[in-house]
Amino acid sequence: MSMKRINQFFGCILLTFFLFMGYTARTTLTYWTEGSVIGPGSGYFPFWICVILSGLTIYWLIQVTIRPGEKIPKDFIPPRHEGLLVLAIFMDMILFIAIVDYIGFPVAMFIFLMVMVVALGERTLRHTIYYGIFSVVVTTFFVVVFGRWLEVAFPKTGIGILKTLGL
């Protein structure tokens, strides 16, 4: 696979997205309004912006197709270990938003921190203990500073046991 192919592939994804948005705007929204409110309706700008975007993307697609292909830059594809790391951290973040409403902020934050720091750090027992302490301290910091002092309303748990523990 060359950079040309990757560019073409990416351009097609963008184009599909813009066409879809433009189509949605044209079909579901009012294009022009008359009466007391004069002028462009709610669908006017979305439609034309999508038209412009699609045009630009097609131009870019032609450009990358005509031009001689470049080599794939060295840092484009991450090394295996690092790539997996990025994926793991992504999953960790998604896990956090998936569970936080059910198990409450403190526990979810602790899990998030623990997973990430372990993924990045060294895997020895001694370090794991350090990581645990770190996660507890940081979670407490958030709960106290953001939750108490700054009155941020973090999600609360709905689970009975955690509730009685005051988390």
């Binding site: 008359e34 009466g35 007391s36 309706g41 009155e151 309303a153």
Partner: protein, 333 residues
């Protein structure tokens, strides 16, 4: 909102008294156990921090904290003209009475009266109103020393130049916008409606002469009125407001327009009526004390208590007004 310790103690005493009174009156266990003072009352304010609705919410939160003797935590959840906040309130709230919504006509109404907004709730179905507590009439102001000296001047000018006289409001279908629509209807004119999300932008457009009139809530006009930048022409209420001394009602000038923001408290449908009664009684009791009246006056918000029933009736009236306007808009689309 932190309350001083001595006041808290006083509040606890009071609330105990309330509980005993309710226990005697109703005699049921479920109602008597509310409020459980070890719990927290969560209040949803469906607007961002710092605005008029937020102020109104925070004020009543401190009142409830004192009267009920329990901690009240305000959650700001702005956006979508209150639709986001109300939707979240309904999804997070139980019927145990520990989550309360700071409702606000007509802002809370507009989303579900407009079918395009696809609101998942409707007041009659999902929310029970406990009490109304705050009231802020809409008013219209012009630049001081400008061409308009009275509401009549403004209306006459609008009649002579249809569509050329411009008024500001903070957004479509909020109280200020509705007051303009109603004035247009009552006077048979067409004042063009221009929206500015921030109050500062409205005032700048007015003082810069880009618009002719600012339609706003009375508390937003107090400062400009006092400093002599603007002149309030009329107030859209049945009686003049203390916040704007010397300003007459539009009704007295022959334009039958009434529009205001009315703040109240609501619970999710299914909450026991006894809990609503306790809240209603607490607010009524507080409203008779100088403390609440004075602190409300400071931010320019009038105390106007409506019982749950009265507030409901008022609400239905506004629903009809909003409904008519939405229908009118649909025709013009």
């Amino acid at each position: 909102m932190k309350v001083e310790k001595c006041r808290k103690r006083f509040g606890v005493l009071l609330a105990t008294a309330v509980c005993v009174a309710v226990l005697l009156m109703v005699g049921t266990v479920s109602a008597a156990s509310w409020p459980d003072k070890s719990k927290i009352l969560t209040m949803y304010v469906a607007s961002g921090a710092g605005g008029g609705s937020d102020m109104a919410g925070r004020m009543i939160a401190s009142v409830l904290e004192k009267e009920l003797g329990m901690k009240v935590v305000v959650i700001n959840k702005g956006g979508g003209g209150s639709q986001i906040g109300v939707t979240e309130f309904l999804s997070k709230s139980g019927t145990d009475g520990y989550t309360v919504l700071c409702a606000n006509t007509p802002v809370t109404i507009s989303p579900y009266m407009d079918p395009a907004r696809k609101a998942t709730y409707h007041l009659g179905k999902d929310i029970q109103l406990a009490v109304g507590y705050g009231f802020s009439p809409c008013a219209v102001a012009v630049k001081k020393g400008g061409k308009f000296k009275s509401l009549k001047d403004l209306v006459e000018a609008a009649k002579a130049n249809p569509g050329k006289i411009k008024g500001t409001a903070s957004g479509p279908m909020v109280q200020n916008d509705l007051s303009m629509v109603l004035l247009n209807k009552a006077a048979g004119v067409e004042i063009a409606r221009m929206y500015f999300d921030q109050q500062g932008e409205q005032r700048a457009a007015l003082l810069g002469g880009h618009v002719d009139a600012e339609f706003n809530n009375d508390f937003e006009l107090i400062g400009g009125n006092k400093s002599g930048e603007i002149e309030t022409l009329a107030i859209f209420d049945k009686t003049p407001a203390v916040t704007l001394p010397g300003v007459k009602t539009a009704e007295s000038m022959g334009y039958n327009v009434h529009m205001a923001a009315a703040y109240g408290l609501g619970f999710k449908t299914g909450t026991p009526q006894e809990i609503l009664d306790v809240v209603e009684a607490a607010v009524i009791r507080a409203s008779k004390k100088a403390e609440m009246v004075e602190s409300f006056q400071k931010i320019g918000l009038g105390v106007k208590v409506m019982t749950g029933k009265e507030y409901r009736a008022y609400w239905t009236g506004i629903e009809n007004v909003v409904g008519d306007v939405v229908k009118g808009m649909a025709v013009k689309k």
